[in-house]
């Protein structure tokens, strides 16, 4: 080694710790070589992916109402809550399909109110106008619906047969429409109702002890001749 090379090497060794320290200050220490702790790096700064509510971008199948009942409900929704100004109506907010899901998941009493109510409405349309409800004009629908509307207070819908269905359905159609994203994204004008926005509570430390009764998943591979030692918990 030439003398000047030796001097350069000595100087470099002497400067190295300072350079390394400088690097450390500028860049945090790199992660340790794999394997690393699984949750390393997950912090409050971790970006949260943006997702959509499924029923904004996907369609569901009719699960509860018959095709005829859905046709009646769709027309009823359109009559009771049509588009107004820039705001969408119930049909544009996918409310009938949402109600198929909601009512189909509900207790029998509510399912019956809807099923019988929609059947009654269609039968009444045929009786009075010789048309199914879905084909009625606005004026014809009004003649059927208006006499059945009532005023009522929370938790006490009218109890008369058919008026119960119509007033409950009206309330549900309005709530489902106003609480849809289609409604939310159009700014309100004047006293137009607003989408409900509240504090949503997640399940708080849910009791998961029942999982101990859930049978384990089927093993993916057959047991080998050299099983691993097992100490089930």
């Amino acid at each position: 080694m030439l003398r000047r090379d030796f001097v350069r090497a000595v100087l470099a060794v002497g400067a190295a710790p300072k350079l390394l320290l400088g690097q450390q200050a500028a860049n945090p220490a790199p992660p340790p070589p794999a394997p690393v702790p699984w949750l390393l790096g997950l912090t409050s700064k971790t970006p949260i992916p943006h997702v959509e509510a499924a029923d904004q971008v996907a369609v569901g199948e009719l699960r509860f109402f018959t095709a005829q009942q859905m046709a009646t409900l769709t027309r009823l929704s359109d009559v009771l809550f049509p588009p107004m100004g820039q705001k969408p109506g119930a049909v544009q907010a996918q409310t009938p399909m949402f109600l198929d899901f909601l009512i189909g998941s509900s207790p029998d009493v509510r399912r019956k109110v809807y099923s019988e109510g929609l059947d009654w409405l269609d039968a009444e349309a045929k009786k009075q106008f010789n048309l199914s409800f879905e084909k009625l004009s606005d004026a014809q629908a009004d003649a059927l619906l208006k006499p059945m509307l009532r005023t009522w207070m929370n938790d006490h819908p009218p109890t008369e047969q058919h008026a119960d269905f119509l007033n409950i359905a009206h309330d549900d159609i309005r709530t489902a429409t106003i609480n849809s994203k289609a409604w939310f994204v159009v700014p309100e004008v004047g006293a137009e109702p607003r989408t409900t926005e509240e504090l949503y509570w997640s399940p708080i430390e849910p009791d998961i002890s029942d999982r101990t009764n859930v049978p384990p998943h089927v093993q993916a591979a057959p047991k080998s001749g050299h099983p691993m030692p097992s100490y089930p918990r």
Partner: protein, 522 residues
């Protein structure tokens, strides 16, 4: 510390348990508090969301919480799940048992209305001959009411008639709004008093055990708390026959554990405290544990519209609220029902609900625009009479998620409550019309018993051990080291929100207990 015997075991962490913990620990008494549910931390358990982000667009999840009318998709996870902790009733007699097991209990979620009972309640039998008098009067409880009102920062005006005793208020001296003044003017010639609302302001927007009571107890270093501790039964010393602690099961792991204490204070909420006594077979020499279940009639009411406030013309017209204390059967007597009801009255400033119009589509929207800001709400809080036959008992055929036998609730309203509801609705209509308001909708049918979340009774207090479960200090007649400090002790329900009375009774009982313990009488 393992195997430690605590001075006092407190079961429940709501208003009554929190007050007991505060008072006892401030006297230097070591307490252990068990709560059946977890600690709620709003910063990571809750976030603000629009309804469209939720699977049911804000509707109550189908099939859940059928008897919690107050629930919706936003708050469904804070109520006790009816499948996890069921209760039974006859199909034609539904009962709405509305429960919260989070640490702090229902003190986290309440309407903040803060009233005293008067001697029309404490001495109700002396006034009208029905039921039993309480063993205490308003004068006995008044000093404790004052202190509780101070802690909870109750706002109100000193405008109460004898049936609504005044208290230690942050004074509300704002003038009535125009709409409310017209209501007051309509009520006066009919002998109906209208008073300023009385409401707990609390601190930082919250008036709960967790921010007004438990921090004081924790500061003493004398309080040990356990969350997720579902108490199975109170244990008894085989030699003395006295309660000496409890067995509990961890809510999450189902691990069975126990704690020991010299004194047991039940503060689990009226029906849970009673369920524990029944499951433990304690304090029931009178046979009255579970009897005389009461609450208040909610549901009936009227919504009217104030004409000059329409189209949002609310300035100076709308925006105040009032309480009409009971006025029936005070100076005069009606033959339609015993006792009486109060009215909550609000001149609201927001939208009037669509249900108040028999219209749809664009016609409905025109109505909503026109009536915006003009809603005048009147709703009843009616006293339910204490009847022996209205009771709870253990259902031997059902258990909850931890194998603990559940309650069967056997209660119903009678003509007294139905007639009261009808009278209230008729009166509201009469007052609204006299004030020049337009009645939009009305209802005279009560919600099911329990809806008010003001269930009281089932361990009532009295001087006669044969006619009551507790003495005037909330102490079991049968076991001197057993206290019940929640609403179970009520001898009559009154029309008033019971919270201030529960807080004051718990404070009074706890000071008595502390004195007895320091004197070594317990």
């Amino acid at each position: 510390m393992l195997n430690e015997t605590y001075d006092v075991l407190i079961i429940g962490s709501g208003h009554s348990g929190g007050m007991a913990a505060k008072i006892l620990t401030e006297y230097g008494i070591g307490c252990i508090m068990l709560n059946a549910g977890p600690v709620a931390n709003v910063t990571h358990d809750a976030e603000r969301k629009p309804a469209y982000e939720l699977p049911y667009r804000g509707f109550r999840p189908p099939g859940r919480l059928e008897h919690v009318f107050q629930s919706n998709e936003f708050n469904a996870n804070v109520w006790v799940d009816e499948q996890e902790v069921p209760y039974t009733f006859e199909q034609n007699q539904p009962y709405n048992w509305v429960r919260v097991r989070l640490f702090g209990g229902r003190s986290l979620f309440w309407s903040r209305q803060s009233f005293r009972l008067s001697d029309y309640e404490f001495k109700a039998k002396s006034h009208d001959g029905f039921g039993e008098d309480w063993p205490i009067s308003h004068a006995d409880l008044a000093p404790y009411y004052s202190r509780a009102e101070g802690i909870f920062r109750v706002s109100g005006a000193m405008d109460g008639p004898p049936q609504l005793p005044d208290g230690n208020f942050t004074i509300d001296d704002a003038p009535w709004t125009i709409a409310m003044q017209r209501f007051v003017d309509a009520a006066k010639p009919r002998g109906i008093p209208v008073c300023k609302q009385r409401s707990a302001q609390g601190r930082d927007g919250l008036a709960s055990s967790v921010n007004l009571l438990l921090p004081d107890a924790e500061k003493t270093g004398k309080l040990t708390s356990i969350a997720n501790a579902v108490v199975r039964e109170i244990t008894v010393d085989k030699n003395t026959g006295l309660p000496n602690g409890c067995n509990f099961v961890d809510r999450l792991s189902h691990r069975e554990m126990s704690v020991k204490a010299r004194v047991v204070v039940l503060a689990a909420g009226t029906l849970e405290s009673t369920r524990l006594l029944l499951n433990s077979r304690l304090a029931n020499s009178s046979g009255l544990v579970g009897r005389y279940l009461m609450d208040q009639v909610y549901g009936p009411g009227v919504l009217a519209s104030v004409p000059e406030a329409r189209r949002g013309n609310i300035n100076a017209v709308m925006g105040s609220s009032a309480i009409v204390p009971r006025f029936r059967n005070i100076d005069t007597k009606t033959d339609k029902f015993l006792r009486g009801y109060a009215l909550n009255v609000t001149a609201a400033t927001g939208a009037v609900g669509a249900r108040n119009f028999a219209a749809y589509g664009t016609e409905l929207q025109r109505k909503l625009d026109e009536y915006y800001g003009s809603g005048f709400h009147m709703t009843i809080m009616g006293e339910v009479l204490g009847r022996y036959e209205n009771h709870v008992r253990i259902d031997k055929d059902r258990t909850d998620a931890w194998g603990i036998p559940v309650l069967h609730v056997d209660t119903k309203y009678t003509d007294n409550e139905f007639n009261m509801s009808k009278d209230a609705t008729d009166t509201c209509c009469e007052l609204a019309e006299a004030a020049g308001f337009e009645v939009l909708s009305k209802n005279d049918k009560p919600n099911p018993p329990g809806y008010s979340i003001h269930e009281v009774g089932t361990c009532r207090m009295g001087d006669d051990p044969k006619k009551s479960v507790l003495n005037k200090w909330n102490q079991s007649h049968d076991h001197r080291n057993l206290f019940v400090v929640d609403g179970a002790c009520f001898t009559s329900a009154g029309w008033q929100n019971p919270t201030m009375t529960i807080l004051s009774l718990s404070m009074r009982a706890s000071e008595y207990l502390a004195g007895e313990m320091l004197r070594r009488n317990i």
